[in-house]
């Protein structure tokens, strides 16, 4: 076990964590405010990736693909929130089951449109090369993922803690009726948050498609890891999503490297311990 190998795996873990964070941040944002567990997030990821792929193939520009995917999935999320979720507001279980149904429809439709073969999104040219430090060679694109993850984390943190919108969202997490009574259109905020959460999942799909590839079933795999991230980090917490992503990203990467046959089992243990000690997760609120 050379140190280069360990550093390589460590970097893989961190880049994967950044990707998981991008997905989980939207998920946890939506849950924190709206109490909606969006199990459609895996499908948002997959469809977003495929849309990005189509756009990138047509335009040859990775960044246009990212933006189009985010906007398209954001609008899809908005349509779902306005058109369907609205009718079961306040009923947590029905909302979850509804998003499961939608996830199946989206995943199956993407199988029809984009086929069942695994496809990779080509990374932008200037990121397609690797850099070398000592005897370690590492693809630049993966560091780009970390950069985007960090940027999104910073922007979300700023929005949540330093802006009026963030104050409304934080207040909504605590007491929705009160916010409503103060004359703030909380339903508009709901829609906005769902749109942003879905858009982030779509964006993640393009980012992930360039190093994990897209295939039927990728949606539920990433959803599982996203769920474990928020279970460990605490539902509704941005800090929790950061820490949870790092824990899951590193464990999953090292687990796959050392025990390839029992890969998922390595994230099971920490999840179990977390639920035993702190059922609400590291940064979750105790209800």
């Amino acid at each position: 076990m050379s140190p280069t190998f360990l550093i390589f795996q460590l970097l893989n873990g961190i880049t994967f964590a950044a990707l998981l964070f991008l997905l989980a941040s939207g998920f946890t944002l939506i849950f924190g405010l709206m109490r909606v567990v969006s199990l459609a997030h895996g499908a948002f990821y997959l469809v977003g990736g495929y849309i990005g792929l189509t756009v990138i193939r047509a335009t040859g520009n990775f960044f246009i693909g990212m933006i189009v995917a985010a906007v398209a999935i954001g609008l899809l999320g908005l349509a779902i929130e306005r058109g369907l979720l609205r009718f079961v507001r306040g009923e947590e279980l029905r909302q979850v089951l509804l998003t499961i149904g939608l996830a199946f429809i989206m995943a199956d439709m993407s199988l029809v449109i984009w086929g069942g073969d695994p496809v990779s999104i080509p990374a932008p040219d200037f990121l397609r090369t690797s850099f070398t430090v000592g005897d370690l060679t590492y693809p630049k694109y993966r560091l780009f993922v970390v950069l985007v993850g960090g940027l999104v984390a910073a922007v979300l943190w700023f929005l949540q803690n330093k802006t009026r919108l963030g104050a409304i969202i934080r207040a909504g997490v605590d007491d929705i009726e009160m916010v409503d009574a103060l004359g703030i259109d909380i339903k508009l905020v709901f829609s906005g948050v769902f749109l942003v959460g879905a858009a982030l999942a779509g964006l993640t799909g393009v980012m992930g498609g360039a190093f994990l590839s897209l295939y039927p079933g990728a949606d539920s795999e990433i959803l599982l890891l996203g769920l474990v991230v928020v279970i460990i980090g605490g539902m509704g917490s941005l800090e929790g999503a950061v820490v949870g992503s790092l824990v899951v990203g590193l464990l999953d990467t090292f687990g796959k490297a050392f025990f390839p046959e029992l890969a998922y089992f390595t994230i099971f243990g920490p999840m179990a311990i977390m639920l035993a000690l702190r059922p609400s997760g590291l940064f979750g609120r105790i209800k």
Partner: protein, 340 residues
Amino acid sequence: MSERWGKLILVLVLLALAVAIPYLTTSFYVNLFTEVLIFGLLAMSIDILAGYTGLTSMGHAGIFGVSAYVVGYTLTKTTLPLEFALSLGIVASILTAALFAIIAIRTTGVYFLMVTLAEGMIVWGIAYRWASVTGAENGIRGVPRPLFVHEYWQFFYLVLVVFVILSAILYRLVNSPFGLTLKGIRESESRMRTLGYNTALHKFIGFTMTGFFAGTAGALYALYNGFVSPSAVEFAKSAEEVLMVIVGGVGTLFGGVVGAAVIIFTRNIVSLYTSRWPTIMGLIFVVTILFARNGLLGAVRSLFERIVQARRGRIESTEEVVTEGTESIEKRGAATHLEN
């Protein structure tokens, strides 16, 4: 008293019909009915948690699959006898359910659903990656069916006998003091705790027991299908089984069997014309959640009640025709919302 006799007669008629199935139809449909009974058993085990305890499990395909895999592996890779293989499979499922329960019962509502979903996915992950035992995506092929139930109709009767015995046990269970305690936990766990009930222990035992029923269904499935693959334990299967419970009506126990019949027959009819079953399943999910709040059976029943009442000339608003199913699911929805 007359209602009781009515129920008994209904059960006897259904039983007679079930016994007559192999005489009335072709092997294709007999096999479908076999599948309905196997998955109906699994759906009822999920309903013990979802309907009676208020905990919706999205990981029961995992518990079911553990037994199917253990039975498949034991029968193909070892020379151990059938009884031993089946017992081993069921015990493995019970242990899996106990392990799932220890972790999941600390949570309620959507958290419970998420945790059980993750647990079920982990079983899928192991089935998919532990190639030396599970055969990865190829699965375990050629699980032999014992000679005495080799013909499709013989196997149907075996499954029918197991089904009748286990559903009688389940019926007894939900109407026992234990079952009533579970219902009490569903309505208000804090109140039950105040009354001195060890609610965590009740939930743990309830969950672990479902492992027995799901495990038996899994063992039968391995023999029925002769083939076990990761697709038997994937998330879509867990969701499909929960859908069976929802379609049949949450908290009605036998509704799960009706739901299983609806889903399995629909899937077979749909697959004659298109391979878009997941889309159809998703649509059934959405439509049931939005329009049939207490399942298709509940919807049919309230429609029926409305017609009867309209005939009597007392047309009431739909809100007043509340069946038991709606009441509990709405209360639960409201309760989980408030608790959060």
